[in-house]
């Protein structure tokens, strides 16, 4: 089985978010980047397929050279090869188009993406990718088993779970549940050393349009000051007359 894990390089969840250029660009200054958490669950599941079912695992990212540390980390965790598509990941359609090209050329049986990335939360790449590749698709996937050509996937749905059976080739939009948080791996020294020798190839992007463009970012309004009250009557009064919630 050949697996492609699509990884997006996102700001660490604790990063302080700011914008530049008149609030049209994310300010990367001083921001630590990590593997998108949903993708990391997918990558870890792919490692399981590699170890238990002899799968070959490649990772792909659309981005400039600054994403390479994140890709090298994926190699240190155990991916066999990494492919960087040398372009700015301008929007979901553009990114999916680039990944589709890589996926086609590599003839992968399973393409694992994250349900959404935690930076722009677009949540469309895996779906567009499946459609461009004309492959089966399971989104919000929280469990995946493969047996030969058959796949059993569990999907999170409103208030419950849905178990699906489908076939390879398959695209999934993965998330927590594919593996548990405690299964996530810290690269060990052997992995870091082996990652040195693994291939990280850079390919040029194909022609594809971005269908959307960022025009403005806004941060949520700052939290108001906390008002401490001494007794229940004052609290009720404030909730009723000021906050107008009761």
């Amino acid at each position: 089985m050949k697996i492609l894990v699509c990884i997006s390089n996102v700001p660490d969840t604790t990063a302080k978010i700011n914008f530049t250029d008149g609030d049209t660009k994310f300010d990367t200054n001083g921001v630590q980047f990590v593997i998108n958490p949903n993708d990391e669950f997918g990558l870890t599941r792919a490692m399981w397929f590699k170890e238990k079912q002899q799968a070959t695992v490649h990772v792909a990212t659309v981005g400039d050279a600054s994403v390479e540390p994140t890709m090298r980390k994926a190699l240190a965790i155990g991916a066999d090869e990494a492919i960087r598509i040398n372009a700015n990941p301008s929007d979901g359609f553009f990114v999916a188009s680039q990944l589709a090209e890589v996926a086609k050329n590599g003839a992968y049986d399973l393409v694992i993406g994250g349900r959404e990335s935690i930076d722009y939360n677009g949540g469309m790449v895996p779906g567009i990718l499946a459609s461009l590749l004309d492959m089966n698709f399971v989104n919000a996937c929280i469990s995946l088993e493969i047996d030969g050509n058959n796949a059993t996937a569990i999907r999170e749905i409103d208030g419950g779970k849905e178990t699906l059976s489908t076939n390879l080739p398959l695209v999934i939009g993965g998330q927590k549940g594919l593996v548990a948080e405690s299964d996530l791996r810290i690269p060990n020294m052997r992995g870091i050393m082996m990652a040195r020798k693994k291939t990280l190839s850079v390919v040029e992007p194909i022609d594809a349009n971005s269908t959307t463009k960022d025009t403005k970012f806004e941060k949520p309004a700052a939290k108001g000051a906390v008002k401490l009250v001494d007794n229940v009557d004052d609290l009720i009064n404030l909730l009723h007359n000021e906050a107008k919630v009761i």
Partner: protein, 392 residues
Amino acid sequence: MKPDLFEAPDYYNLDELLSEEHKLVRDAARQWVKRDISPIIEEYAQKAEFPNQIIKGLAEIGAFGPYIPTEYGGAGLDQISYGIIMQEIERGDSGVRSTASVQSSLVMYPIFQYGTEAQRKKYLPKLASGQLMGCFGLTEPNHGSNPNGMETKFKDMGDHYLLNGAKLWISNSPFADIAVVWAKNEEGRIHGLIVERGMEGFSTPETHNKWSLRASATGELIFNNVCVPKENLLPGKNGLGAPLGCLDSARYGISWGAIGAAMDCYNTALRYAKERVQFGKPIAAFQLQQKKLAEMITEITKAQLLAFRLGQLKNEGKATSAQISMAKRNNVDMALKIAREARQILGGMGITGEYSIMRHMMNLESVITYEGTHDIHLLITGADITGIAAFQ
């Protein structure tokens, strides 16, 4: 204990000087400490027990012999990576870092540098994987700062050596499988010998009731007519320079490690000062607290630059013992002072095990004493710049 919210300060953008691989190594060590050390270390320090279960993890993040070549099971990393790993581990606890320092610089290093090919093959891969743990016996009850006066001695018995004497204050001794022991031959020349647990007449009683490095096991090494096979002698180097070479490597690692402890204290105090309100303001708003915090980050930044430059010199094989002494002395003293100030910023909370600061502070009292005391390192600098040794 509180959840580990550590964020590393990097006031002078030192990250830009690190390679992609340095950062990968650092992030892995940092993540491991957060996951496997921070949640348990307070409990082990309180009950004065070494957490055995971390040995495998220490080996996996490359804490055992990171700069030993891969053919002997090491990670084949550079000296800056070694420093970074020590920094991250000591950010968690100096006792855990001590275990790693001893294994890397005081056990693997002498076997690699002074050992035979057979000794390297026999011990190094198992030490790198944590399958074997080692300790280093130099200090004796009557000879600490002056190891040259050691009394432990061995006699050539033809087909083996006969070892007699005692070592004190030996990190890892209570559980170590092997000990690299420094002893004098009949001519009074210092040599290194590998003594294995189980050899008759060899015992390792534990030293109890420490107020410092409580999560690290410390003990004695007692040799009562121990027969040591001749092939266990390290032939590559003898004289006091042999153990001092090991100490150079360990002291270099400590100069980075201390930064980790200081960073943890500073980061904890900064967060606390911004949250703790007195007189209607966060205490961080008061000039006295700002002075403490501002001086801490200044000193940490200076120490980082010292360690980084020393790492470059080590990589080039150019770092002198005196340069290493300066960094060890400065950085450990810096960390200890920061721990004391940070503890005060936390007020009463600072003395509890809810926070790591007092543990770091107590740990650093050992770190400023072992591997050459604060005084001795000053005298080494003094001797280096004046050409006159003042400690003899």
